[in-house]
């Protein structure tokens, strides 16, 4: 019972703050609600015993990316150009994306109904001592089965980083 209380708490916080993030006018408020969403999602990861994902989410998304987001928002005045950004087909694109998302959620519910345990709402809760240590398992899988994608991703990031440095450099 405790498990489902915790799950609904995190899920509710995540969804509520995601909705608030979209509707806020003030960009910093949006950023704060996005941080809340990310933290609540991290909480759900932790409840699923994915400790490494939990901390990776916090270090990378909340501690890294969101800090830079807030940094940029503070440097750039966002309230001035806000009215000019709206483009013409926004309504139709939004409608299309909403329908696609609704279909996806519907399909997901339908599949979950057919699972033998039908356990969408009760996350698996084996006791921690039965599970192998999470970050070790993660590292093993990442560096053996998925070594090639891992290396490709890191090269991609490196290229992006070098590209950013070259573009930001002063031309002399």
């Amino acid at each position: 019972m405790l498990d489902s209380i915790i799950f609904y708490f995190f899920a509710g916080v995540a969804i509520l703050s995601a909705a608030l993030m979209v509707t806020r006018r003030n960009a910093i408020h949006s950023a704060v609600f996005l941080i809340t969403t990310l933290l609540a999602t991290a909480g759900i990861f932790l409840q699923l015993r994915a400790e490494f994902l939990f901390i990776a989410q916090i270090i990378l998304y909340v501690g890294g990316i969101m800090v830079l987001f807030v940094f940029v928002i503070m440097l750039v005045r966002l309230d001035v150009p806000l009215h000019h950004i709206t483009f013409r087909f926004q309504k139709w694109v939004a409608l299309f994306v909403a329908i696609a998302l609704a279909c996806e959620v519907g399909v997901m519910f339908w599949y979950v109904r057919r699972l033998p345990s039908a356990g969408l709402l009760t996350p698996p809760a084996p006791s921690p001592d039965q599970l192998p240590p999470n970050s070790e398992q993660f590292a093993k899988v990442l560096f053996s089965n998925y070594l090639l994608p891992f290396e490709i991703a890191s090269i991609l990031l490196l290229v992006a980083m070098i590209g950013a440095v070259v573009m930001a450099k002063k031309r002399t």
């Binding site: 003030n26 400790e51 240590p133 970050s135």
Partner: protein, 448 residues
């Protein structure tokens, strides 16, 4: 008994140790932080040939409590155009992040809230880095230029130095081979030496980066008084300001605890595996008894009766702790409690020593300029930390794959690291020389 009540009771039965330790952290850390401030003021006074706070209590021992009371009843000012909600939120975030990250730290083998979490040290790092949001949001919400610039500086500084600190920690984690705090300390016992001796360069990088991360002198640019008033805290007063301050000092304790766990052997006593040094176990009891005896000696010299009484109380507390520590060593019945209490003593001692180094550096070194700070981080520390990760990994490979002596492998790879450091310093010198000559050329308008 209803099932809901039953589940609550069983929850309490399983988790009461963790709950109690959590409450203890929240209750005791602010007090400790207050006394760290007092120690800092006394040390600063000592190094500047002054007395420091002397009035409130004997030798100013009650000063932190007086300060806290004063801050509590001070008027709470919120600027008119401040973003109220975020202005309220920011100091709380700063404080909460520091306290939550303490949950995973092991103060001795017993005293730990989140026991055996697999990601121990990463949890401490990740959660304590969230305190940055307190600074950024507070600076933004104050609607003041000083606060905003202070927040921006702080963000840039913390993001840069977190990279260096993370890479330095990776060197230590490579040696330990695990992220779990207990296993890191066990690994140091297994090796027989603290990791500071196996990876001194990593420790040095972590020391510098952790000073920068806690916004302390010589890297306290976000709150440089002569430039920015008080940086992100400019518009804060009263208890909110106190929350920021507590968060900062709690963060110092967190950083020192991470360094202690990873590099200084955690709760192990010096030379943990040497049998004939077992008498060192008596040292904690002797040390606290000595402090108590000194308090008794000073109590006789207090001019006011109340102050003497307070001194006696402190002495009694010291003797009580000494008695407990001695009992765990000498009474056979209580020997099961020995590692817990002695470990906590050694851990606290090392954390205090680390914080002492922080303060010492603060009173000794002048403040950096902001571009110097960024250069130090990006041009020296981060490349050096990357090279160091490489060479520590190399040393471990030489030992395990090629059968080298561990110390030989470490010394050879460390020479490699130092070579890289010399090269980086040389590059840095050339760069600053070029920059200063360029600056001289452009500013030399009166020469011709």
């Amino acid at each position: 008994m209803s099932p809901a009540l039953h589940s609550i009771v069983s929850f309490l039965q399983t988790w009461w140790v963790q709950l109690v330790s959590g409450v203890l952290i929240v209750a005791v850390v602010p007090l400790i932080a207050g006394y760290v401030v007092l120690v800092e003021r006394k040390l600063m006074a000592d190094m500047q040939a002054r007395l420091g706070p002397m009035r409130v209590g004997p030798h100013g021992l009650l000063q932190p409590i007086a300060d806290a009371l004063k801050l509590l009843i001070k008027e709470d000012i919120i600027p008119d155009n401040a973003d109220k909600a975020i202005f309220w939120l920011a100091p709380v975030v700063s404080m909460t992040a520091a306290l939550v990250s303490m949950g995973a730290i092991a103060f001795g083998p017993w005293f730990q809230v989140a026991k055996d979490i697999n990601i121990g040290i990463l949890f401490v790092l990740g959660v304590s880095s969230l305190g940055l949001f307190g600074i950024v949001l507070g600076g933004w919400a104050s609607n003041s230029h000083y606060a905003l610039i202070g927040a921006l500086r702080s963000t840039a500084q913390l993001v840069s130095y977190e990279t260096a600190a993370g890479l330095a920690i990776i060197s230590g984690l490579l040696l330990a081979g695990t992220l779990q705090i207990r296993s890191i300390v066990d690994a140091q016992q297994h090796y027989g030496v603290w990791f500071i001796f196996l990876a001194p360069v990593a420790f040095f990088i972590y020391l510098v980066a952790s000073i920068a991360e806690t916004n302390r002198a010589p890297f306290d640019l976000p709150e440089a008084e002569s430039e920015l008033v008080a940086g992100y805290m400019t518009e804060y007063s009263g208890f909110r300001w106190a929350l920021y301050f507590l968060g900062e000092y709690a963060n110092m304790i967190v950083v020192a605890a991470v360094a202690t766990t990873l590099f200084l052997g955690g709760w192990l006593r010096p030379f943990p595996n040497v049998r004939w040094l077992n008498w060192l176990d008596v040292l904690p009891a002797l040390f606290t008894a000595g402090v108590g005896a000194y308090c008794v000696y000073r109590a006789g010299k207090q001019p006011v009766r109340v102050q003497a009484l307070f001194m006696w109380a402190v002495a009694a507390l010291c003797f009580l702790v000494a008695l407990i520590l001695a009992a765990t060593v000498f009474v056979p019945l209580l020997q099961a409690a020995r590692p817990g209490f002695l470990g906590a003593f050694w851990f606290m001692l090392k954390v205090s020593a680390y914080i002492y180094v922080f303060m010492w550096l603060r009173f000794t070194l002048p403040r950096y300029r902001f571009d110097q700070l960024m250069h130090l981080g990006w041009y020296l520390l981060i490349p050096l930390a990357i090279v160091n990760v490489f060479s520590v990994g190399m040393a471990m490979m030489l030992e395990s794959e090629f059968g080298w002596n561990r110390w030989l492998a470490l010394v050879v790879t460390m020479l490699f690291t130092l070579l890289a450091a010399a090269f980086l310093l040389h590059l840095n010198d050339k760069r600053t020389a070029a920059a200063s000559s360029a600056a001289a050329e452009t500013s030399d308008t009166y020469a011709g």
